[in-house]
């Protein structure tokens, strides 16, 4: 399988008539891990939601392509089947649907009718991945995210990532609300996915996560655009110096969306 490329060009996104993303460009190739960083309110999560097709976000301009396929033309489930994955900041709870049933439905949705994953194979894989994430066996039979703590929900997102093996994954603030042990476990899961066939976009405003997952590229978002890109060392500098130097460099007074330079 050749490595995939997610190519975002001049992306403009509005929510309820208010423009949040204002011409964002980003290219992620298989084998690369990108981090998008930035203070609150700069449009990071909007980027994640727009890529996946959240019903509240409207794309007003620009394009998103996964290899040669126009992502913006696809339904949400088609995007997932094409190879995209979003680990959500606030995963939904679905009562009455067990984690295991849900995951099996999701895996089988990618396969042809008659070629469903065998129960044995599925359970083996699920047990293995849950063990890697230090998740107790009972999580398989618990209802999807129902009554999960914040940390358990994040782990469950990574479990889904590992079970579904997408080409490109977006992790939206997967580190928020995690203690250091949980952070290590989640990072281990993401690192285990690393391969030439897997590209990843990590959205975070803490540099902390990047101590465990070393990014190939780091981007800083302000005012709904990427304003600076660099290597892993950029994240280090943000950690020690904050964002003010970038704002000064670019003459930005208020970095949040809705403000102009």
């Amino acid at each position: 399988m050749a490595a995939s490329t997610l190519k975002i060009e001049n992306l403009h996104v509005s929510i309820e008539g208010k423009e949040i993303l204002k011409g964002l460009n980003l290219e992620i190739n298989g084998g690369e891990i990108h981090a998008v960083m930035g203070p609150n309110g700069t449009g990071k999560s909007t980027l994640a939601s727009a890529i996946m097709g959240h019903p509240k976000y409207e794309i007003t301009e620009g394009s998103v392509f996964l290899d040669n396929e126009d992502v913006l033309e696809m339904e949400v489930d088609e995007r997932a089947k094409a190879g995209l994955f979003l680990a959500m900041q606030y995963p939904s709870e679905v009562s009455g649907v067990t984690n295991a049933d849900f995951l099996r439905s999701a895996i089988n949705a990618r396969r042809e009718e008659g070629d469903e994953i065998s129960l044995m194979k599925f359970i083996k894989k699920l047990d293995k991945k849950m063990a890697e994430l230090d998740m107790g066996e009972e999580f398989a039979q618990r209802y999807l995210n129902e009554g999960f703590s914040g940390g358990e929900k994040k782990r469950n997102e990574i479990l889904q990532l590992m079970m579904l093996e997408p080409k490109i994954a977006v992790l939206d603030e997967i580190d928020s609300g995690l203690d250091i042990d949980a952070l290590k476990v989640v990072s281990k899961g993401v690192n285990a996915m690393r391969s030439d066939d897997f590209g990843c976009l990590i959205i975070t405003h803490y540099q902390r996560l990047l101590n465990y997952i070393t990014p190939d590229k780091v981007h800083v978002m302000m005012q709904g655009r990427i304003v600076k890109s660099g290597g892993a060392e950029l994240a280090q500098r943000l950690e020690s110096e904050g964002y003010d130097w970038i704002k000064q460099e670019l003459g930005i007074k208020d970095e949040t969306v809705g403000q102009e330079a």
Binding site: P55, E75, D77, A80, S92, V94, S95, Q160
Partner: protein, 435 residues
Amino acid sequence: MSVDTKIAFDQDYIKSFSERRQEPKWMESLRLKALEKSENLPMPKPDKTKIDKWNFTSFKHDVPADAISSLDDLPKDVRELVAKDQQSGNLLVHRNSTPVFHQLSEELKEQGVIFIDIQTALQEHGDLVEKYFMKDVMKVDENRLTAVHAALLNGGTFLYVPRNVEVDVPVQALYWQEDPEAGLFNHVIIVAEDNSSVTYVENYLSYGNDVESVANIIAEVHVGQNARVTFGSVDNFAKGVTTYVNRRANVARDGKVDWALAQMNDGNTVSTNTTHLIGDGSNADSKTVTIGRGDQKQNFTNQIIHHGKNSEGMLLVHGVQKDSASAIFNGVTKIEHGAAKSNGEQTQRVLMMNEKARGDANPILLIDEDDVMAGHAASVGKVDPIQLYYLQSRGISRHEAERLIIHGFLAPVINELPIEGVRKRAVEVTEGKVN
């Protein structure tokens, strides 16, 4: 313009019908009186549902059916309804309201258990049936449809469990309406004498969407002192069938009734499930699941009335409304004066899958006694688009996501249904209604 609700059967017809069935005289005269009363009694008035244009008069009444010699003669879909965990074979099959297959274990017969179709029961145990038939639990003259029911009764089951007899395995009755035009006037009587226990499971099944017919069903349950009755049902009438169903129990001191009702009809339905907790320390647990689809209209009243002290009642209703289906859910907890230390709880939840679907949940608490506990919870809501988005973001199609959410919504009730066979069948029928 209102549709004529008078039935097209006269005294002579009823007389000869009763004679053909070799019924005791009391039954014949009860039918004739009921027919007479039906002409003047008002139609039932379910709260907030207009039924004046529903079909209650177009059906075939006396449809012949051949007996079957073994279960292998049943079509596959009917055979599959015979509960897998039902090895005992305590089974009664009705075909177009005619009993065509019957099995009861020798062991239960020896213990004095009667489990037989109502026609045979009237012939062989006429006095016993008379003691319970529409006397204490239901009345003939409650409304026009209960009177019509008595006049036209053409099927049903009589289950009698003597004192101190505990029936360990469920008994099952299948009501298979092979002819889509066949009307069903089905009467079930369950008598559990003191200290006895029994589980009864019934399945209703019919076919054909364009043909009109009527199902007018009454189940009367007598729960003796310290007796226990578990009553499970999976209703699955086709779109053309108007269903009017009353399932009602009277519970004596320390007795208990558990209702597990999967109400999966495709046609217009008025359903009432009532328990009178008469004795002190009596107990009722009523669980109902339903899915409305197409343009069907349904009205569900689930009620528990506390008369005895320390009586306990639990109502749980989960309903899904799809397409442009509409339904009213009335949950009634009534605690009469003198029913001190009683506890009545009810929960009703309705999930609507789209804009045109309608569901109303009305929790009604009527408390005439100070020293009681009572509580209710009701929620009506549309399917959460963010939940759908979440499931779809994993590659699950919109349709499959809705299917998962519906199963999930009903699961807390279905998983609690006390009978394995009902539970399985409820899941299967849910699957059929979701796809």
